[in-house]
């Protein structure tokens, strides 16, 4: 097996709060890897560090053998990492289709001048983008909402649109921050199938922050438990869930 992403001694502090403290772990290619932990444990911060939205004070992030610790945030997508956000960051005043097409941005090969004239290569690129985005729309059953403005859509649909936008980027690593929060049981069920299909059919490695232990248990190969910025345990879902330190962290909070 080859390593997809390797995180070593990652740390960041906000005004004295050690949000992430000496965190190390590795994710194998083709794995579904979940991060759990009570609120404020530092899970989202780990994702923000990997997407380079935050600068780490210490540590290294190596993605597919390449050190991305100093890459700027807008290079991460092109490197092969896409993500969703805990509180949905969609382009609210654009259609679902435009949102998904934005997922393709990192693959842009055209200049502003060729776009002003909409030269044949721009047209070809747009058609290619459309065909990839339409596959995502099919995959996530979004055809109903294709031309709807995001702002008017129900919460559950918006979550799916955000997942779709990340998939449209055709990443090799997908970061999902609480994908099931705010979803009803039926939607969560859909999600668990999608996550497995994303790995099995699309071959994308998945890292997921998740509170729904049912979902975590069903889809994850391995789980990492975090508390107060520190790693408590890493292992199979059942092993981590019965780990005494993890149990205590959850009871204590």
């Amino acid at each position: 097996m080859t390593t997809m992403i390797e995180v070593e001694g990652l740390s960041v502090a906000f005004g004295g709060v050690r949000a992430v403290d000496q965190v190390s772990f590795g994710v194998e290619k083709g794995e579904i890897f979940s991060i759990i932990g009570p609120n404020g444990a530092g899970k989202t911060t780990v994702f923000n560090l990997i997407s380079r939205l935050y600068d780490a004070t210490a540590g290294r992030i190596v993605f597919e053998g390449r050190d991305i610790s100093r890459l700027s945030a807008d290079r991460i997508a092109a490197a092969g990492i896409a993500r969703t956000f805990q509180n949905i960051e969609l382009f609210e005043n654009a259609s679902v289709l435009k949102n998904l097409l934005l997922g393709r941005h990192a693959h842009r090969r055209t200049s502003v001048f060729s776009e002003l004239l909409f030269l044949p290569k721009v047209r070809r690129q747009e058609i290619e983008n459309r065909s990839i985005v339409e596959d995502v729309i099919d995959f996530l059953d979004l055809a109903h909402h294709r031309d709807a403005r995001v702002a008017g859509l129900p919460y559950g649909v918006r979550k799916v649109v955000e997942l779709g936008r990340a998939l449209a980027a055709t990443p090799r690593l997908l970061l999902l921050d609480e994908p099931s929060s705010g979803l009803n049981p039926e939607e969560t069920e859909d999600l668990s199938f999608w996550i497995r299909d994303i790995r099995d059919d699309l071959g994308i490695t998945v890292m997921m922050v998740e509170h729904d232990m049912g979902l975590v248990g069903r889809v994850s190969d391995r789980v990492l438990a975090l508390n107060e910025g520190k790693v408590l345990a890493v292992g199979t879902p059942s092993a981590v869930q019965s780990n005494p330190a993890v149990v205590e962290a959850y009871l204590g909070s």
Binding site: I76, R83, K98, E126
Partner: protein, 357 residues
């Protein structure tokens, strides 16, 4: 369940999505092309002014309506374009080239302004651009060797194909041509990655970045393009005015430009054009109003900015999507009249039920 409309991507990237649109735009094109034959000189001149405003509106719309960066200083780019045009013509640069160079100068200025204001947004950006416009109007007044200061600058006439173009209908057709080219260019951008990146920055910077949008690059690009288009409008505006004076490019003009795109409808090119029609017609309306109002009120010098400000605030409160948004709502209402609510309701339910098949 599969939907048949996924089959043809060629159609999706087209400018006109269906034949109906082509038909109505063709009708509009014919009307606009024959209008100078039937309208009075005065109205042709006013229509040319509306086209010029619309060009500036498209420029500002790109920055404010699509990229979400509010500028209260766009009169400055109009001024740079106008003075650039007058100066270059007076130095013997032939017409279309002078206009393009003037736009380039405005665009370069926009790029330079874009850089330091990158970290600002909302009200702070508006204030910074306002300050920039003040500086530009000072420069226009003081840099007499180029702008002739408060003596004013008589704009040389356009000469093309050996003819001196001095008729209103000349400017009408030139402005119309420029407007059409600008709209087509911006429409092309909007169906390409660059235009989508602008929209992404407007709606969520953090998501835009995570998808590979470099904020610095695209924000300065939006500033430069917006300024260049507005400069283009400025070059034409010089010919509408015939005589340039530095105090013509002041804060009231900047507010008028902003008013135009807000009233027209932010985030749509239709909005920029509707807004230009509105702002173009406004002075006449205010003129009529002046006749009706009691003299104490009518002769107050601050009446125009007051009315502009009032309309701006009322639009933002009551019709945030502007004239174009109201038009879309009406259209949707009549298209779906008895079914509107039921249809939308059914869709939501259908999605909730959609299990995995």
């Amino acid at each position: 369940m599969r939907f048949l409309f996924k089959t043809n991507y060629e159609q999706d990237v087209r400018l006109f999505q269906h034949g109906g649109q082509v038909f109505w735009y063709a009708v509009l094109a014919v009307l606009v092309l024959v209008a100078p034959l039937v309208l009075s000189d005065y109205l042709v001149g006013e229509a040319a002014f509306v086209f010029i405003l619309a060009i500036a509106g498209v420029g500002l719309m790109l920055l404010t309506g699509y990229t979400g960066l509010v500028s209260l200083g766009h009169a400055a780019f109009l001024g740079i374009g106008a003075y650039g045009e007058a100066y270059l013509l007076s130095k013997g640069v032939p017409f279309p080239i002078s206009m393009l160079l003037a736009a380039l100068i405005a665009g370069a200025t926009g790029f330079l302004i874009g850089l330091p204001t990158l970290r600002l947004s909302g009200v702070y950006l508006a204030i910074a651009t306002f300050g920039f416009a003040l500086i530009v109007s000072e420069i226009l007044a003081k840099w007499e060797s180029v702008t002739r200061g408060f003596n004013g600058f008589r704009v040389p006439r356009i000469v093309m194909f050996g003819e001196t173009l001095r008729q209103d209908w000349h400017l009408y057709y030139i402005s119309l041509a420029v407007l059409v080219v600008v709209i087509l260019g911006v429409l092309n951008l909007l169906r390409s990655p660059t235009g989508r990146a602008f929209i992404a920055i407007r709606d969520s910077e953090v998501a835009a970045q995570s998808l590979g949008v470099n904020l610095t690059v695209y924000k300065t690009l939006a500033f430069a393009l917006s300024a260049a288009i507005t400069g283009l409008a400025g070059a034409l505006y010089a010919h509408k005015l015939n005589f340039l004076s530095p105090d013509g490019f002041n804060i009231i003009l900047s507010i008028q430009l902003l008013l135009m795109i807000v009233v027209g409808g932010l985030g749509s090119l239709h909005g920029a054009v509707f807004g230009a029609l509105f702002v173009g017609a406004l002075p006449s309306v205010i003129g009529i109003l002046r006749g009706e109002l009691p003299r104490v009120i009518a002769e107050q010098p601050g009446l125009e900015p007051l009315i502009f400000g009032l309309i701006l605030v009322l639009t933002i409160i009551f019709e945030p999507y502007g004239i174009y948004g109201r038009w879309l709502k009406l259209k949707l209402y009549f298209q779906l009249f008895p079914l509107y609510r039921r249809a939308t309701f059914r869709r939501t339910k259908a999605f909730l039920k959609s299990g995995r098949r």
